[in-house]
């Protein structure tokens, strides 16, 4: 993974260090202390504040639910069930959004996620694949997702296509291929193990929620605790600076789209399990759901900034809105308008922050230079 040759120990020799040489033991102790601190605190104060705001929105939505349907919320069994329902509803898009968040932080966009989910789902549910059993289906879905993600990555990083164009083309092609393979039919999954992923629970919690939690946790660690995550932020935040620091920007971009594709493969299994079937038109417009969730979660569309937790909260907010409208029997048209409003509000908040930031910078420059 690392671009650097492992010669870290020689670093100190080249320091100009007019100050007295540092005691290595002291450095190590400091590092240890800092490490212990950083593990739970994280580095993004701004991100934490934003996420608290999202949790606030979530609380408001739940309060509205309680006020509008006190009869339902009066039943604690129903409430627990409803929480799990919301999480299940969020699970598939949530997994796709984790991949999308990496791509957007890395300065790109992936419009093909819904199509990849459909292609992977269809591929995993053909009669031939199903004959290999659950293992074969999972293998097919993950491999197809990864492969299409790699195609995206190659087109963008080595073919130098604009991400928007490349993934749009892959969207169209993948849906077409899915329709071709499925002969435009709905392919029923008769594999009880796969279907069981959506219906079975462990300790009272659906397996889908565990999968979402695992992907989110892995995404969080990958973004915040690994060199891969660090490179993602660098490549998206300032590709030229990353390149001039010796980071292989193209290869990393390729990996980001492959990661997104892999997430789509996982999501394809989950969605197939939920619907007991797959078809070329499935996961319709998931790309928009994922992008919207990432944006309201605070991921900057221009890249370089974003959090996995924010994206997760974005997805959960959307599925809570869907749930809220469902339990009140309100039309989906109104629901979509509210979702659109929330996206606009989130972007406006971002812009205001950006504007005040640039004003701050302008003032700063005026006074210090």
């Amino acid at each position: 993974m690392s671009e650097m040759t492992p010669t870290a120990t020689s670093a100190r020799a080249d320091l100009p260090a007019p100050s007295p040489p540092v005691d290595p033991a002291e450095t190590a102790a400091k590092a240890d202390a800092a490490r212990r601190l950083s593990w739970w605190r994280g580095d993004g104060g701004e991100g934490v504040r934003r996420n608290l705001g999202l949790i606030g929105v979530l609380v408001v939505l739940i309060v509205i639910g309680i006020l509008t349907r006190p009869d339902l919320y009066g039943d604690s069994n129903w409430v627990w069930d409803n929480i799990l329902t919301i999480l299940k509803l969020a699970s598939v898009v949530g997994v796709v959004t984790v991949g999308m968040t990496f791509v957007i932080i890395g300065g790109g966009i992936d419009l093909s996620v819904g199509a990849i989910v459909a292609l992977a789902g269809v591929w995993a549910t053909t009669v031939a694949t199903q004959s290999y059993g659950a293992g074969g289906m999972v293998f097919a879905a993950l491999t197809v997702g990864l492969a299409v993600g790699l195609v995206n990555g190659v087109l963008i990083s080595y073919g130098r296509l604009v991400p928007f164009i490349a993934t749009l083309a892959v969207l169209v092609a993948a849906r077409g291929l899915a329709a071709e393979i499925s002969d435009k039919q709905t392919q029923v999954s008769s594999n009880t193990f796969i279907n069981g992923i959506a219906s079975n629970k462990l300790l009272g919690i659906p397996l889908l929620v565990y999968i979402l939690a695992a992907v989110v946790a892995a995404g969080w660690v990958l973004l915040n605790r690994t060199t891969f995550g660090r490179r993602t932020v660098a490549v998206g935040g300032n590709p030229e600076a990353a390149r001039l620091a010796g980071i292989n920007v193209r290869r990393h971009t390729l990996l980001l789209y492959a990661l997104s594709g892999l997430c789509c493969g996982i999501a394809a299994i989950m969605l197939t399990a939920q619907a007991n079937s797959a078809q070329a038109a499935m996961a319709n417009l998931y790309e928009l759901d994922a992008i919207a969730a990432a944006i309201i979660g605070g991921t900057l569309l221009s890249g370089g900034r974003g959090t996995i937790i924010g994206s997760l909260l974005g997805v959960i907010i959307f599925s809570t809105i869907t749930n809220l409208f469902a339990i009140n029997g309100l039309s989906t048209e109104a629901q979509n308008m509210v979702k659109g409003g929330i996206i606009v509000a989130a972007v406006l908040v971002q812009q205001v922050q950006f504007r005040s930031l640039t004003q701050f910078l302008g003032r700063n420059r005026a006074t210090t230079t």
Partner: protein
């Protein structure tokens, strides 16, 4: 060769082999052993109109299939045409929208068909084409999506969307009465809500329920796909902790609806489907799910359209009718399929 490089090359080989086999396995996985469905064609029986007559060239166009129903329309038309020795079948891909279909149809006209069978993207947008073809002396058979102008077609054959809602509600009302349920909770999962056909279906359903003093407690639209059906149903089940009856407009999305019902472990209600897919009929026959009935909107209309187009081309009438020509409009009745008659309808399932 050094040890190191040999190791490396072997690893590469292993990896390459793995990649290769993955490719082979995946490629193999695309095959679908779908049995050809000849069930919906009408065998050319001996005597009468079935006797080979004047050679008729039938041009056919339908939207690209994005759904099982449309796919069945095209397949049925092709299969029915194949059943006649005196029919030449010329099909053109309709492309992605009404404009593309119009362009495709103009190439069809140039091939001088005797009759055109057409399922338009949009009846209004292709009305002008119907007029033009009729004026040029080519009879047009409109399938399912009506032209507003009566001069734009020779024959219109379509399903009854409103009637579907009526049939579903009628069945539900009868069942609830038989069970003696008072104040029943009725749910509805329509298809894409913005389509006129969905609105007609829902209106037929609501009107009939209202006539019996009932109403829909909650409706969550899906998108004619199984995954959207699953999500819509999950929402509906969560909103209605107890349900007595549920109408799902479309059997394709019904796969997802049934999955959601199973996942929520709900059994207290019965469900009526829509359209009449083979899988739905099998489920009804097996009687091991909440799905107890489905109301048809059968793609078999495409087979009938080809048969009638042939008669029009040959200038014959329908042999059971007194009239010497084929009638101008045929609206299929929406039939209700239950456990009792599912066996009869199975061959019409798509």
């Amino acid at each position: 060769m050094t040890q190191h490089s040999r190791d490396l090359s072997r690893r590469r080989l292993l990896f390459g082999g793995a990649a290769l086999s993955a490719g082979v396995v995946l490629a193999g996985c695309t095959s679908n052993e779908t049995a050809p469905t000849a069930a919906q064609t009408k065998a050319a029986a001996a005597g009468g109109n079935a006797d080979p007559g004047k050679k008729v060239t039938i041009g056919f166009s339908a939207p690209a299939a994005d759904h099982g129903w449309i796919a069945a329309i095209t397949n049925n038309a092709k299969a029915q045409a194949g059943a006649y020795s005196d029919v030449e079948f010329k099909s053109v891909e309709a492309g992605a929208d009404a404009a593309a279909q119009r362009a495709a149809l103009s190439t069809l006209i140039s091939q001088k068909p005797d009759v055109i069978v057409l399922l338009p993207y949009d009846g209004k947008e292709l009305n002008a084409f119907g007029l033009e073809a009729m004026k040029a002396g080519i009879p047009v058979v409109n399938l399912d999506r009506a032209f507003p102008d009566a001069r734009a077609y020779r024959l219109q054959i379509k399903g009854d969307n409103y009637g579907m809602g009526v049939a579903a509600a009628t069945y539900i009302v009868a069942q609830l009465k038989a069970k003696g349920v008072s104040n029943p909770v009725i749910g509805e999962i329509p298809g894409i809500d913005s389509l006129e056909l969905t609105q007609e279906r829902s209106k037929g359903f609501a009107d009939t329920l209202a006539a019996n003093g009932l109403k829909v407690a909650n409706r969550r639209p899906a998108e004619f796909t199984a995954d959207s059906g699953q999500q819509a149903a999950t929402g509906l089940l969560q909103a209605l902790p107890k349900i007595d009856a549920l109408w799902n407009h479309d059997d394709d999305q019904g796969i997802g609806v049934l999955a959601a019902v199973n996942q929520a472990n709900r059994k207290e209600f019965f469900m009526v489907g829509g359209a009449g897919s083979k899988k739905a009929m099998e489920d009804i026959q097996a009687d091991n799910t909440v799905l107890k009935a489905t109301v048809t909107y059968s793609p078999s209309m495409a087979s009938s359209a080809i048969s009638l187009a042939r008669l029009i081309g040959q200038g014959k009438g329908m042999s059971d009718l007194v009239e010497l020509q084929v009638p101008k409009e045929i609206v299929l009745a929406s039939e209700t399929i239950t456990k009792e008659n599912a066996g009869d309808y199975l061959k019409l399932g798509f």
